[in-house]
């Protein structure tokens, strides 16, 4: 049975959107907490200065820099959230594969980091594009990431690379030294795979999974 993009969005979209939203809000809260404590520190220093303790300008400048750093971090998170929120705007568009992967990784960075897994992303030498819905592609990449990282031990390194193979097919490769979960037949993922005319190829040892577009 074939599903439309709308049907899949209705079925899988809210859960994925909610999970990413929760992770993003957690990241933003952490930025706010760091800014809050550093603003409080500035206030402490100013209060001490008012009482006659000389203001350590170098130290004060360091606190300002930490706040600026967190503003930059929060801005990056909110930009990703904005792009993610607009990913449902168009049912089909030309998508830069590496940009989409970076976005998917950024959105779920905290979840992956909490599993103790390090992700290395190697971009293709040139730009690689696929056609479809950005939201589905993000969902698909995340579904694979969750499957792949499910059985990996803390400390594992997951290498992700994009390439164009010898048959001119664009693919994303997920590779690890340890074997990972092989359960890629979930209905939702299969539906999204169909929408992208894509397939997942696993090696015998379950250490490598390739998402091949244009099956």
């Amino acid at each position: 049975m074939k599903y439309t993009a709308q049907e899949i969005t209705d079925q899988c979209g809210p859960a994925y959107f909610g999970r990413m939203g929760a992770a993003i809000s957690h990241d933003i809260k952490n930025c706010l907490a760091i800014m809050n404590e550093n603003a409080g520190l500035m206030s402490d220093h100013l209060m001490m200065a008012q009482k006659g303790v000389p203001l350590d300008t170098e130290r004060f400048s360091g606190i300002v820099q930490r706040i600026e750093k967190q503003i930059g971090r929060a801005d990056g998170i909110v930009k990703s959230l904005n792009t993610f929120s607009h990913s449902m705007d168009k049912p089909e568009q030309q998508i830069d594969l590496d940009e989409a992967l970076e976005l998917a990784l950024g959105l779920g960075a905290k979840i992956i980091a909490n599993k103790g897994i390090k992700v290395d992303h190697t971009q293709a030498s040139g730009k690689l594009y696929v056609n479809g819905s950005l939201f589905f592609l993000l969902f698909l990449i995340w579904a694979i990431l969750e499957n792949v990282t499910e059985n990996l031990a803390s400390g594992a390194v997951l290498n992700i690379s994009s390439k164009e193979d010898e048959n001119n097919q664009i693919c994303l490769s997920f590779q690890c030294e340890q074997p990972f979960a092989s359960n890629f037949d979930q209905q939702a993922n299969s539906q999204a795979l169909d929408l992208f005319q894509a397939k997942i190829v696993l090696d015998d040892q379950y250490t490598k999974a390739e998402l091949v577009f244009g099956k």
Partner: protein
């Protein structure tokens, strides 16, 4: 008596700034950037209160709380998190956490809770010592 506090959070810039502010207010503060490191610190030093993040790599706050309370039931734990769901809050309380605060937290509120936590720990330690003395008195028959 200054409150002995351990902050466990993987956001190092957060722990550093919070520790400095708490130290300025007369508390004796240590920090750990992971649950494993924090559990090690508790083995090595006596603390009144642990301020613990819920979401961390390697081991989350709930798992850490379980171990802390098992090893040291008198130790008071305040969870400080950016991601406080009602379910997590209830689970934490059932496991013996004293309180749960959401980030960014107000330092005055946190300080009040730390003072209450220290007082609670002192009472628990005294009760434990009293019970132990009573047991010794009864068994030795002096």
């Amino acid at each position: 008596m200054s409150e002995k506090v351990l902050i466990i959070d993987d956001e190092q810039e957060f722990t550093e700034a919070l520790a400095e502010r708490m130290t300025n207010r007369g508390m004796d503060v240590s920090t750990s950037s992971s649950a494993i490191e924090g559990l090690q610190s508790v083995e090595e030093k006596v603390f009144d209160v642990v301020v613990l993040d819920l979401q961390m790599p390697e081991m989350d706050g709930i798992e850490t709380l379980k171990i802390l309370k098992k090893k040291n039931p008198e130790l008071q734990v305040i969870l400080l998190t950016g991601h406080a769901t009602v379910e997590k809050g209830i689970e934490a309380m059932k496991l013996g956490a004293m309180d749960l605060l959401e980030k960014p937290a107000d330092l005055t509120t946190l300080t009040e809770k730390i003072k209450k936590a220290q007082a609670k720990r002192i009472i628990l330690v005294e009760k434990k010592a009293e019970k132990r003395i009573k047991e010794i008195m009864e068994t030795r028959g002096w």
